[in-house]
Protein backbone atom coordinates (compact mmCIF):
# COMPACT_ATOMS: atom_id res chain seq x y z
CA UNK A 1 0.00 0.00 0.00
CA UNK A 2 1.04 3.56 -0.73
CA UNK A 3 2.51 5.07 2.48
CA UNK A 4 1.15 8.47 1.47
CA UNK A 5 -2.41 7.22 1.75
CA UNK A 6 -3.85 7.27 5.25
CA UNK A 7 -7.16 5.79 4.09
CA UNK A 8 -7.84 3.54 1.12
CA UNK A 9 -11.39 2.29 0.57
CA UNK A 10 -12.49 0.18 -2.37
CA UNK A 11 -16.16 -0.63 -3.06
CA UNK A 12 -17.05 -0.34 0.59
CA UNK A 13 -20.56 -1.54 1.38
CA UNK A 14 -22.39 -1.58 4.71
CA UNK A 15 -25.92 -2.90 5.30
CA UNK A 16 -28.19 -2.60 8.30
CA UNK A 17 -30.55 -5.53 7.70
CA UNK A 18 -32.13 -4.91 4.31
CA UNK A 19 -31.08 -1.27 4.28
CA UNK A 20 -27.89 -0.42 2.43
CA UNK A 21 -26.20 2.33 4.39
CA UNK A 22 -23.15 2.46 2.13
CA UNK A 23 -22.87 1.11 -1.37
CA UNK A 24 -19.73 0.84 -3.51
CA UNK A 25 -17.86 3.66 -1.80
CA UNK A 26 -14.27 4.07 -3.03
CA UNK A 27 -11.92 6.88 -2.05
CA UNK A 28 -8.51 7.67 -0.62
CA UNK A 29 -7.24 10.20 1.92
CA UNK A 30 -3.59 11.16 1.45
CA UNK A 31 -1.40 12.79 4.11
CA UNK A 32 -1.80 16.42 5.05
CA UNK A 33 -5.42 16.88 3.97
CA UNK A 34 -8.51 18.34 5.53
CA UNK A 35 -11.37 16.39 4.01
CA UNK A 36 -14.99 17.44 4.36
CA UNK A 37 -17.61 14.69 4.40
CA UNK A 38 -20.93 16.10 3.26
CA UNK A 39 -24.33 14.49 3.04
CA UNK A 40 -27.90 14.91 4.20
CA UNK A 41 -29.05 13.19 7.39
CA UNK A 42 -29.12 9.47 6.70
CA UNK A 43 -26.71 9.68 3.75
CA UNK A 44 -24.22 7.37 5.49
CA UNK A 45 -21.67 9.83 6.93
CA UNK A 46 -21.66 8.42 10.45
CA UNK A 47 -21.64 4.85 9.15
CA UNK A 48 -18.61 5.60 7.00
CA UNK A 49 -16.74 7.14 9.93
CA UNK A 50 -17.63 4.23 12.18
CA UNK A 51 -16.40 1.76 9.57
CA UNK A 52 -13.07 3.61 9.42
CA UNK A 53 -12.46 3.01 13.13
CA UNK A 54 -13.78 -0.55 13.18
CA UNK A 55 -17.12 0.09 14.84
CA UNK A 56 -19.15 -1.19 11.89
CA UNK A 57 -18.44 -4.32 9.88
CA UNK A 58 -18.57 -3.76 6.13
CA UNK A 59 -20.49 -6.33 4.08
CA UNK A 60 -18.45 -5.72 0.94
CA UNK A 61 -15.24 -4.19 -0.27
CA UNK A 62 -11.87 -3.86 1.33
CA UNK A 63 -10.18 -1.00 2.98
CA UNK A 64 -7.15 -0.02 4.97
CA UNK A 65 -6.77 2.79 7.49
CA UNK A 66 -3.14 3.70 8.22
CA UNK A 67 -2.32 0.43 6.49
CA UNK A 68 -4.36 -1.56 9.01
CA UNK A 69 -7.61 -3.48 8.91
CA UNK A 70 -9.89 -1.48 11.25
CA UNK A 71 -11.74 -4.59 12.43
CA UNK A 72 -8.79 -6.87 13.01
CA UNK A 73 -6.23 -4.28 14.18
CA UNK A 74 -8.54 -1.91 16.00
CA UNK A 75 -6.30 -1.33 19.03
CA UNK A 76 -3.22 -0.60 16.93
CA UNK A 77 -5.32 1.65 14.71
CA UNK A 78 -6.68 3.71 17.59
CA UNK A 79 -3.14 4.54 18.70
CA UNK A 80 -2.74 6.59 15.52
CA UNK A 81 -6.29 7.60 14.65
CA UNK A 82 -8.59 9.60 16.87
CA UNK A 83 -12.32 9.85 16.58
CA UNK A 84 -14.90 12.17 18.11
CA UNK A 85 -18.33 10.65 17.40
CA UNK A 86 -21.41 12.82 16.96
CA UNK A 87 -22.76 11.51 20.25
CA UNK A 88 -19.54 12.22 22.15
CA UNK A 89 -19.92 13.23 25.76
CA UNK A 90 -17.54 13.84 28.61
CA UNK A 91 -18.58 12.56 32.05
CA UNK A 92 -20.32 15.47 33.79
CA UNK A 93 -19.02 14.67 37.28
CA UNK A 94 -15.36 14.65 36.26
CA UNK A 95 -12.88 17.50 36.46
CA UNK A 96 -10.94 18.24 33.29
CA UNK A 97 -7.77 17.31 35.21
CA UNK A 98 -9.23 13.87 35.97
CA UNK A 99 -9.84 13.35 32.27
CA UNK A 100 -6.24 14.28 31.49
CA UNK A 101 -5.13 11.71 34.08
CA UNK A 102 -7.47 9.11 32.61
CA UNK A 103 -6.20 9.70 29.08
CA UNK A 104 -2.58 9.52 30.26
CA UNK A 105 -3.28 6.06 31.61
CA UNK A 106 -5.31 4.90 28.61
CA UNK A 107 -3.53 6.17 25.56
CA UNK A 108 0.19 5.57 24.88
CA UNK A 109 0.49 8.55 22.53
CA UNK A 110 -1.36 11.06 24.72
CA UNK A 111 0.59 13.96 26.22
CA UNK A 112 -0.82 15.53 29.39
CA UNK A 113 1.50 18.48 28.98
CA UNK A 114 0.23 19.08 25.47
CA UNK A 115 -3.40 18.83 26.62
CA UNK A 116 -2.76 21.50 29.30
CA UNK A 117 -1.05 23.72 26.74
CA UNK A 118 -4.05 23.37 24.40
CA UNK A 119 -6.47 24.13 27.23
CA UNK A 120 -4.64 27.39 27.89
CA UNK A 121 -5.94 28.57 24.50
CA UNK A 122 -9.48 28.14 25.77
CA UNK A 123 -11.44 29.51 28.69
CA UNK A 124 -11.53 26.04 30.26
CA UNK A 125 -9.59 25.63 33.50
CA UNK A 126 -8.24 22.11 34.21
CA UNK A 127 -9.80 22.34 37.68
CA UNK A 128 -13.30 22.91 36.21
CA UNK A 129 -15.90 20.18 36.45
CA UNK A 130 -17.40 19.24 33.10
CA UNK A 131 -20.91 20.00 34.36
CA UNK A 132 -19.99 23.66 34.97
CA UNK A 133 -18.80 24.18 31.39
CA UNK A 134 -20.88 25.61 28.56
CA UNK A 135 -21.53 23.46 25.52
CA UNK A 136 -18.86 25.32 23.54
CA UNK A 137 -16.34 24.86 26.34
CA UNK A 138 -17.05 21.12 26.56
CA UNK A 139 -16.34 20.74 22.86
CA UNK A 140 -13.14 22.78 23.21
CA UNK A 141 -12.05 20.61 26.14
CA UNK A 142 -12.84 17.50 24.13
CA UNK A 143 -10.79 18.69 21.19
CA UNK A 144 -7.89 19.63 23.49
CA UNK A 145 -7.92 16.09 24.92
CA UNK A 146 -8.04 14.45 21.51
CA UNK A 147 -5.58 16.82 19.83
CA UNK A 148 -3.07 16.00 22.57
CA UNK A 149 -2.81 12.55 21.01
CA UNK A 150 0.10 12.29 18.61
CA UNK A 151 -1.96 10.62 15.88
CA UNK A 152 -1.98 10.73 12.09
CA UNK A 153 -5.69 10.83 11.39
CA UNK A 154 -8.52 12.65 13.15
CA UNK A 155 -12.13 11.77 12.43
CA UNK A 156 -14.72 14.31 13.58
CA UNK A 157 -18.43 13.60 13.24
CA UNK A 158 -20.42 16.87 13.39
CA UNK A 159 -18.02 18.30 15.96
CA UNK A 160 -19.58 21.77 16.13
CA UNK A 161 -23.24 20.82 16.15
CA UNK A 162 -25.21 23.11 18.45
CA UNK A 163 -22.35 25.59 18.98
CA UNK A 164 -22.58 29.32 18.34
CA UNK A 165 -20.48 30.90 15.63
CA UNK A 166 -17.65 32.03 17.94
CA UNK A 167 -17.28 28.60 19.49
CA UNK A 168 -17.28 27.03 16.04
CA UNK A 169 -14.54 29.37 14.90
CA UNK A 170 -12.50 28.73 18.05
CA UNK A 171 -12.83 25.00 17.47
CA UNK A 172 -11.54 25.09 13.89
CA UNK A 173 -8.84 27.59 14.83
CA UNK A 174 -7.45 25.19 17.39
CA UNK A 175 -7.70 22.25 15.02
CA UNK A 176 -5.79 24.00 12.22
CA UNK A 177 -3.32 25.88 14.34
CA UNK A 178 -2.47 23.16 16.85
CA UNK A 179 -3.06 19.81 15.25
CA UNK A 180 -2.71 19.97 11.47
CA UNK A 181 0.96 19.98 10.56
CA UNK A 182 0.96 19.12 6.87
CA UNK A 183 1.36 15.39 7.57
CA UNK A 184 -1.70 14.60 9.64
CA UNK A 185 -5.13 14.47 8.00
CA UNK A 186 -8.61 15.28 9.22
CA UNK A 187 -11.94 13.89 8.06
CA UNK A 188 -14.78 16.10 9.25
CA UNK A 189 -18.51 15.97 8.65
CA UNK A 190 -20.72 19.00 9.10
CA UNK A 191 -23.88 20.68 7.89
CA UNK A 192 -22.25 24.10 8.18
CA UNK A 193 -20.79 23.66 4.73
CA UNK A 194 -20.23 27.35 3.97
CA UNK A 195 -18.23 27.88 7.11
CA UNK A 196 -15.66 25.21 6.55
CA UNK A 197 -15.48 25.32 2.77
CA UNK A 198 -12.28 27.39 2.82
CA UNK A 199 -10.74 25.12 5.41
CA UNK A 200 -10.99 22.00 3.29
CA UNK A 201 -8.50 20.64 0.81
CA UNK A 202 -10.86 17.92 -0.42
CA UNK A 203 -14.50 16.99 -0.27
CA UNK A 204 -16.40 13.70 -0.21
CA UNK A 205 -20.13 13.91 -0.91
CA UNK A 206 -22.49 11.09 0.03
CA UNK A 207 -26.03 10.76 -1.21
CA UNK A 208 -28.15 7.85 -0.01
CA UNK A 209 -25.13 5.69 0.70
CA UNK A 210 -23.33 6.39 -2.55
CA UNK A 211 -20.34 8.63 -3.09
CA UNK A 212 -21.43 11.26 -5.63
CA UNK A 213 -18.26 13.35 -5.52
CA UNK A 214 -14.69 12.91 -4.32
CA UNK A 215 -12.55 15.83 -5.40
CA UNK A 216 -9.86 18.30 -4.35
CA UNK A 217 -11.14 21.83 -3.97
CA UNK A 218 -8.79 23.17 -6.63
CA UNK A 219 -9.98 20.56 -9.09
CA UNK A 220 -13.53 21.46 -8.15
CA UNK A 221 -12.91 25.08 -9.15
CA UNK A 222 -11.52 23.90 -12.46
CA UNK A 223 -14.12 21.27 -13.26
CA UNK A 224 -17.31 23.06 -12.26
CA UNK A 225 -18.23 26.32 -13.91
CA UNK A 226 -20.45 28.83 -12.13
CA UNK A 227 -21.81 31.60 -14.32
CA UNK A 228 -23.20 34.75 -12.73
CA UNK A 229 -25.58 36.45 -15.10
CA UNK A 230 -28.36 39.00 -15.46
CA UNK A 231 -31.79 37.45 -14.73
CA UNK A 232 -32.89 38.71 -18.17
CA UNK A 233 -30.84 36.00 -19.92
CA UNK A 234 -31.99 33.22 -17.56
CA UNK A 235 -33.81 31.31 -20.30
CA UNK A 236 -30.79 31.19 -22.59
CA UNK A 237 -28.63 29.98 -19.69
CA UNK A 238 -31.22 27.34 -18.73
CA UNK A 239 -31.24 26.03 -22.31
CA UNK A 240 -27.63 24.91 -21.83
CA UNK A 241 -28.77 22.47 -19.07
CA UNK A 242 -26.91 23.62 -15.99
CA UNK A 243 -26.80 21.33 -12.94
CA UNK A 244 -28.43 24.06 -10.86
CA UNK A 245 -29.74 27.59 -11.11
CA UNK A 246 -29.72 29.87 -8.08
CA UNK A 247 -29.51 33.43 -6.84
CA UNK A 248 -26.16 34.81 -5.75
CA UNK A 249 -26.22 36.03 -2.17
CA UNK A 250 -29.26 36.87 -0.07
CA UNK A 251 -31.55 39.42 -1.71
CA UNK A 252 -29.23 39.73 -4.67
CA UNK A 253 -30.55 40.49 -8.12
CA UNK A 254 -27.73 38.48 -9.67
CA UNK A 255 -28.64 35.00 -10.87
CA UNK A 256 -26.21 32.16 -11.36
CA UNK A 257 -26.02 28.75 -12.94
CA UNK A 258 -23.70 25.86 -12.18
CA UNK A 259 -22.31 23.64 -14.94
CA UNK A 260 -20.29 20.42 -14.81
CA UNK A 261 -17.57 21.41 -17.28
CA UNK A 262 -17.49 24.60 -19.30
CA UNK A 263 -20.71 25.58 -21.08
CA UNK A 264 -20.51 26.61 -24.78
CA UNK A 265 -18.77 29.92 -25.46
CA UNK A 266 -22.08 31.51 -26.43
CA UNK A 267 -23.40 30.75 -22.94
CA UNK A 268 -20.17 31.84 -21.24
CA UNK A 269 -20.59 35.19 -22.95
CA UNK A 270 -23.91 35.73 -21.15
CA UNK A 271 -22.24 36.39 -17.79
CA UNK A 272 -19.07 36.18 -15.71
CA UNK A 273 -17.43 33.07 -14.36
CA UNK A 274 -17.40 32.99 -10.56
CA UNK A 275 -16.07 30.52 -8.00
CA UNK A 276 -18.64 27.74 -7.51
CA UNK A 277 -19.71 27.43 -3.90
CA UNK A 278 -19.62 24.06 -2.19
CA UNK A 279 -23.17 24.49 -0.90
CA UNK A 280 -24.55 25.04 -4.38
CA UNK A 281 -22.62 22.06 -5.68
CA UNK A 282 -23.91 19.98 -2.79
CA UNK A 283 -27.50 20.93 -3.53
CA UNK A 284 -27.00 20.24 -7.22
CA UNK A 285 -25.50 16.80 -6.69
CA UNK A 286 -27.82 15.58 -3.96
CA UNK A 287 -31.00 17.00 -5.47
CA UNK A 288 -32.72 17.72 -2.23
CA UNK A 289 -33.90 21.25 -1.65
CA UNK A 290 -34.44 20.78 2.10
CA UNK A 291 -30.97 22.02 3.02
CA UNK A 292 -31.89 25.19 4.83
CA UNK A 293 -29.59 27.96 3.63
CA UNK A 294 -30.99 30.44 6.13
CA UNK A 295 -29.13 28.64 8.93
CA UNK A 296 -25.81 30.02 7.76
Amino acid sequence: MDPNLLVEARSLGVSYGAKRALDGVSFTIPRGRVVGLLGHNGAGKTTLMKALVGLVKPAQGDFAVLGLDPLRDRVALLEQACYIPDVAILPRWARVNDLIGLMSGLHPRFSAERARALLRRTSVDPADKVKTLSKGMVVQAHLALVAAIDARLMILDEPTLGLDVLSRKAFYEMLIDEWCDGERSVLVSTHQVEEIETLLSDVLMLNEGRLVLSIGLEDMDRRFYALAHDPAVAEQVAAAHPLLRYRVGPGSARAAALFDGSPPASVQALGQRVRPSLVDLFIALTRRPELDRTQF
Binding site: M174, I176, T198, L199, A228, R275
Partner: protein, 117 residues
Amino acid sequence: MQTWDDRQPIYQQLADLLAAQLLDGDPPEGAAMPSVRALAGRHVLNPLTVNRALQALGEASLLESRRGLGLYVVPGARDKLKASERERFLDTEWPRLRDRLKRLGIGPEQLRWEELT
Protein backbone atom coordinates in the same frame (compact mmCIF):
# COMPACT_ATOMS: atom_id res chain seq x y z
CA MET B 1 -16.60 34.20 10.23
CA GLN B 2 -14.69 35.81 7.42
CA THR B 3 -16.60 36.06 4.19
CA TRP B 4 -14.84 35.84 0.87
CA ASP B 5 -16.35 36.90 -2.40
CA ASP B 6 -16.73 34.56 -5.34
CA ARG B 7 -15.03 36.67 -8.01
CA GLN B 8 -11.41 36.02 -7.10
CA PRO B 9 -9.49 33.04 -5.77
CA ILE B 10 -9.40 33.08 -1.98
CA TYR B 11 -5.62 33.10 -1.82
CA GLN B 12 -5.66 36.34 -3.82
CA GLN B 13 -8.20 37.88 -1.45
CA LEU B 14 -6.09 36.86 1.53
CA ALA B 15 -2.98 38.31 -0.14
CA ASP B 16 -4.87 41.61 -0.65
CA LEU B 17 -6.02 41.60 2.97
CA LEU B 18 -2.50 40.94 4.28
CA ALA B 19 -1.10 43.62 1.97
CA ALA B 20 -3.62 46.13 3.34
CA GLN B 21 -2.49 45.23 6.87
CA LEU B 22 1.19 45.62 5.89
CA LEU B 23 0.38 49.08 4.57
CA ASP B 24 -1.00 49.92 8.02
CA GLY B 25 2.23 48.64 9.57
CA ASP B 26 0.89 45.30 10.79
CA PRO B 27 3.34 43.66 11.11
CA PRO B 28 5.96 46.43 10.76
CA GLU B 29 8.87 46.29 8.32
CA GLY B 30 11.60 43.94 9.40
CA ALA B 31 9.25 42.01 11.68
CA ALA B 32 8.22 38.37 11.31
CA MET B 33 4.96 37.41 9.64
CA PRO B 34 2.63 35.16 11.67
CA SER B 35 3.10 31.48 10.85
CA VAL B 36 1.10 29.73 8.15
CA ARG B 37 -0.76 27.76 10.79
CA ALA B 38 -1.58 30.84 12.84
CA LEU B 39 -2.95 32.61 9.76
CA ALA B 40 -4.83 29.51 8.66
CA GLY B 41 -6.37 29.23 12.12
CA ARG B 42 -7.26 32.90 12.36
CA HIS B 43 -8.95 33.02 8.97
CA VAL B 44 -10.26 29.43 9.01
CA LEU B 45 -8.43 28.65 5.79
CA ASN B 46 -6.64 25.60 4.54
CA PRO B 47 -2.88 26.03 5.11
CA LEU B 48 -2.25 25.44 1.40
CA THR B 49 -4.35 28.51 0.60
CA VAL B 50 -2.37 30.56 3.11
CA ASN B 51 0.88 29.33 1.57
CA ARG B 52 -0.21 30.52 -1.84
CA ALA B 53 -1.14 33.96 -0.50
CA LEU B 54 2.24 34.32 1.23
CA GLN B 55 3.95 33.13 -1.92
CA ALA B 56 2.17 35.87 -3.89
CA LEU B 57 3.39 38.49 -1.38
CA GLY B 58 6.88 37.03 -1.67
CA GLU B 59 6.75 37.29 -5.45
CA ALA B 60 5.74 40.96 -5.06
CA SER B 61 8.95 41.35 -2.96
CA LEU B 62 6.99 42.35 0.14
CA LEU B 63 8.11 39.35 2.20
CA GLU B 64 11.41 37.52 2.36
CA SER B 65 12.23 34.12 3.71
CA ARG B 66 14.97 33.89 6.34
CA ARG B 67 16.43 30.45 6.52
CA GLY B 68 15.03 28.50 9.43
CA LEU B 69 13.15 31.50 10.79
CA GLY B 70 10.21 31.97 8.43
CA LEU B 71 8.90 34.97 6.54
CA TYR B 72 9.76 38.59 7.33
CA VAL B 73 8.41 41.89 6.07
CA VAL B 74 10.97 43.37 3.69
CA PRO B 75 12.31 46.83 4.66
CA GLY B 76 10.68 49.28 2.26
CA ALA B 77 7.60 47.08 1.81
CA ARG B 78 5.23 49.88 2.84
CA ASP B 79 6.68 52.34 0.33
CA LYS B 80 6.46 49.70 -2.35
CA LEU B 81 2.84 48.96 -1.47
CA LYS B 82 1.99 52.63 -1.26
CA ALA B 83 3.48 53.22 -4.70
CA SER B 84 1.50 50.40 -6.28
CA GLU B 85 -1.70 51.48 -4.50
CA ARG B 86 -1.18 55.07 -5.73
CA GLU B 87 -0.63 53.80 -9.23
CA ARG B 88 -3.80 51.74 -9.06
CA PHE B 89 -5.79 54.70 -7.77
CA LEU B 90 -4.51 57.11 -10.40
CA ASP B 91 -4.79 54.65 -13.31
CA THR B 92 -8.06 52.91 -12.64
CA GLU B 93 -10.03 54.36 -9.71
CA TRP B 94 -9.53 58.06 -10.39
CA PRO B 95 -10.75 58.03 -14.03
CA ARG B 96 -13.95 56.31 -12.87
CA LEU B 97 -14.38 58.74 -9.99
CA ARG B 98 -13.72 61.70 -12.29
CA ASP B 99 -16.39 60.50 -14.73
CA ARG B 100 -18.84 60.17 -11.89
CA LEU B 101 -18.07 63.65 -10.53
CA LYS B 102 -18.54 65.03 -14.03
CA ARG B 103 -21.88 63.24 -14.42
CA LEU B 104 -23.12 64.54 -11.07
CA GLY B 105 -21.85 68.06 -11.80
CA ILE B 106 -19.65 68.19 -8.69
CA GLY B 107 -16.71 70.60 -8.92
CA PRO B 108 -13.55 70.81 -6.74
CA GLU B 109 -15.02 73.70 -4.71
CA GLN B 110 -17.87 71.49 -3.50
CA LEU B 111 -15.53 68.84 -2.07
CA ARG B 112 -14.10 69.24 1.40
CA TRP B 113 -10.32 69.06 1.24
CA GLU B 114 -9.31 70.30 4.70
CA GLU B 115 -8.52 66.85 6.13
CA LEU B 116 -6.07 66.24 3.29
CA THR B 117 -3.64 69.05 4.11
